[in-house]
């Protein structure tokens, strides 16, 4: 393909389902216009300096027409389904109600497909309850980067506009004031089609004192070159708590862009825990904006091999005083794989008494692997506690010898140490203080702790 594909995307653009509200059409058209001008992000952009998405630009990924391929998807999600959870499943960008499970959701919690919600809205505009939805949806779907007052111009990029213009569906989770979801909600984004795209937009909104756990699971068929582009917008009300897990288990030829953008109101808590194992070219973004005394804990781990490229982009904005943030990311790179960590914590002028820490450690298991890491603190207040650290290295030979001297062969010793390096992050997932009543360090395995450890062990079979 000689012409960059973003022009083709614009030329072949079809207005989505008739009956989408006018405000959404407007949002989509604006996003499409920006995308037509700028295309996908370029390495000239500082925030994309280390990740070249030219391979995506060279292809034209097409949207699926229904119905969803439920049979293929069912097999893919089997190995990563949490036993006791509510779920929504999207296959190639289309909602698959047959695979989803919503029975028993408490009053005050709604979990639905965005497309269905918009359809209902179009069919029965007169219903007052649905009218109320519209206002929330409109403001909810507008990305921060869409508004003119946006101060973080550099965070706007082609994938967000692409997502706004093309999303076909997504999950909408609303948890009302004071409602605590006892079971986790698992969202599946499954891809089965070669050269297919799955473009989804999720909205998660927790009211005051509401609490929930949401697990985003991205999976796809192996040896299949698809594009998954999933954006999640998260709003946490006063003193609410969300633990948001992202399991990126895409197929080995997949392109993945996934962004989670959270606003945390006063005293709110946001845990973001990201495990990236799959994909060929992957960009994970996680941004959090904290109001007064809000807290975030962001933990990330990726394992890359062969020619995988995995980019983790993290940003925390402390807007108001007494906020706390902990960002801990690790990477384990094998073969000729490449990793990127770009993390920035911004302490704005009003955010006195902020307590922020960012740590990034990387393990290079091959001479051909490469990591670019750039942790940044940007501090505009004068009474804050901030720290950051970064390491890049190989397995410590002293540790390997210590294990050998206890009778463990070198290969097993190396696997044990690598597994331990990875498992430490997964342990942090389990004790995240984002939910109330959980003190840091207190053992409270989440329902998929074993699942995650199992996935790691599959990579290091001799470690246990």
């Amino acid at each position: 393909m000689s012409e960059p594909s973003h022009r083709l995307y614009v030329e072949t653009y079809r207005e989505p389902a008739a009956g989408e509200p006018a405000w959404l059409r407007r949002l989509r058209r604006q996003a499409l216009a920006r995308f037509g001008t700028s295309g996908f992000p370029s390495p000239r952009d500082e925030e994309w300096r280390y990740t070249n998405v030219a391979p995506i630009e060279r292809k034209l990924f097409t949207a699926a027409s229904g119905p969803a391929d439920v049979a293929a998807a069912g097999a893919l999600i089997e190995s990563c389904r949490i036993a006791d959870a509510w779920s929504l499943v999207f296959v190639d960008g289309l909602f698959a109600p047959e695979l989803s499970e919503r029975n028993g959701l408490p009053a005050g919690a709604r979990l639905e497909s965005l497309a269905s919600l918009l359809e209902t809205l179009a069919l029965s505009p007169a219903l007052s309850g649905v009218e109320a939805d519209a206002g929330w949806l409109e403001s909810g779907l507008e990305l921060e980067t869409d508004s003119k007052s946006n101060e973080v111009e550099s965070d706007r990029h082609g994938f967000l506009d692409f997502n706004t213009a093309f999303f076909t569906d997504g999950a909408v989770l609303r948890v009302d004031e004071g409602v605590v979801l006892e079971k986790p909600v698992q969202l599946f984004f499954v891809s089965t089609r070669n050269e297919g795209r799955a473009t989804l937009r999720n909205l998660i909104r927790l009211g005051r004192n509401a609490e929930a756990r949401v697990v985003e699971t991205h999976v796809g068929a192996p040896e299949t070159g698809y594009l998954g582009a999933v954006v999640s917008q998260i709003e946490i009300g006063d003193n609410g708590g969300l633990n948001h897990y992202k399991l990126q288990l895409d197929g080995n030829r997949a392109y993945h862009f996934g962004g989670s953008y959270a606003r945390i109101a006063r005293d709110g808590r946001f845990g973001h825990h990201s495990l990236s194992l799959g994909g060929l070219l992957v960009r994970n973004e996680a941004h959090a904006r904290l109001a007064r005394a809000a807290r975030t804990e962001m933990n990330g781990l990726f394992l890359s091999e062969n020619r995988q490229h995995v980019d983790n982009h993290v940003r925390v904005d402390h807007d108001e005083p007494h906020g706390e943030s902990r960002v801990t990311y690790r990477g384990i790179l094998k073969d000729r794989s490449r990793g990127v960590f770009q993390g920035r914590i911004v302490v704005h002028a009003d955010a006195q008494k902020t307590d922020a820490e960012m740590n990034n450690r990387n393990l290079l298991l091959s001479d051909d692997a490469e990591i670019d890491t750039k942790p940044q603190l940007e501090i505009h207040a004068d009474d804050v506690k901030c720290a950051h650290g970064v390491t890049v290295g190989q397995l410590d030979p002293d540790s390997v010898f210590y294990l050998e001297s206890r009778g463990i062969d070198a290969a097993t010793a190396r696997e044990m140490l690598t597994f331990a390096f990875a498992a430490e992050i997964v342990e942090r997932f389990a004790v995240s203080p984002a939910l109330s009543g959980v003190e840091a360090g207190v053992e409270r395995p989440d329902p998929f702790h074993e699942l995650l450890l199992g996935m790691l062990l599959a990579r290091f079979p001799h470690a246990k």
Partner: protein, 256 residues
């Protein structure tokens, strides 16, 4: 009596720098040998060469352990054959629990000897019994290996490993350094409880004080990469009184 370890004319270097320049040492089962000497005399090099640490190059000589060429074995084989090194600086390994390492090591040893692996429950029983020897609280079993342990706790953890693995040749590399008297006594008690007619010890130490609590059969003084004096426990006391200066001088003159 069969000799357990026979070291002959052992030369070794680190980064092209010769450190050991002809060590001869014979150790029989049941014996405790103390190797003393000033800093830089080659004590730790000898320990590391025997345990098989990378970066220590043997240029000449032999070490025969129970009739086989010890230096030809990879480090994990030496361990499985019953050679144990208690580290001068035990490594912290976050993320690998102490009990997991113990079990992995114990079962590796058993497989090597053609025995069945033990299950988790039986192993736990064994370990709990052994923690009493070094008075280490059970909670240490579930922490990362040596992670956040005090100096004394790390050294006691080394002795705990030794107690579980039941080696034939125990090499303690300056296990006493940096310990207060209470920790030293615990370590010494642990070692004494493991003394047996089949098991030999090499105590590498800078300080005579350890030998007040573990009585050696033989004391060797190492200087400039050679054993310059050998004697009984009395030699250690002589060193304590006179310091290492006279040994250094004598060794330097001998080399001249």
């Amino acid at each position: 009596m069969n000799t357990l370890l026979r070291i002959e004319n052992l030369h070794a270097r680190v980064d092209d720098k010769p450190i050991l320049k002809g060590i001869d040492l014979t150790i029989n089962p049941g014996e405790v040998h103390a190797i003393m000497g000033p800093n830089g005399s080659g004590k730790s090099t000898l320990s590391n060469v025997l345990a098989g640490r990378a970066g220590y190059e043997v240029t000449e000589g032999t070490a025969t352990y129970r009739g086989q060429d010890l230096l030809g074995l990879p480090p994990e084989q030496r361990a499985r054959e019953g050679v144990f090194l208690a580290f001068q600086y035990p490594v912290e390994i976050p993320g690998v629990s102490n009990i997991y390492l113990l079990k992995a090591a114990y079962n590796a040893m058993r497989r090597h000897r053609g025995l069945n692996e033990v299950d988790a429950l039986d192993f736990l029983k064994l370990v709990k019994e052994k923690t009493k020897i070094v008075d280490l609280d059970e909670q240490f079993l579930y922490r990362g290996v040596n992670e956040g342990f005090s100096g004394g706790e790390k050294k006691r953890n080394e002795i705990l490993q030794m107690a579980i693995l039941e080696p034939t040749l125990c090499i303690l590399d300056e296990t006493d350094s940096g310990l207060d008297i209470d920790a030293l006594k615990l370590v010494a008690d642990g070692v004494n409880s493991l003394r047996s007619p089949d098991r030999a010890f090499i105590l590498v130490t800078h300080y005579q004080r350890l030998l007040d609590y573990i009585k050696p059969d033989h004391v060797h003084v190492l200087a400039h990469g050679r054993i310059v004096r050998s004697g009984d426990a009395g030699l250690a006391h002589e060193l304590e009184r006179k310091g290492y200066g006279w040994i250094e001088t004598a060794a330097a003159e001998a080399l001249r």
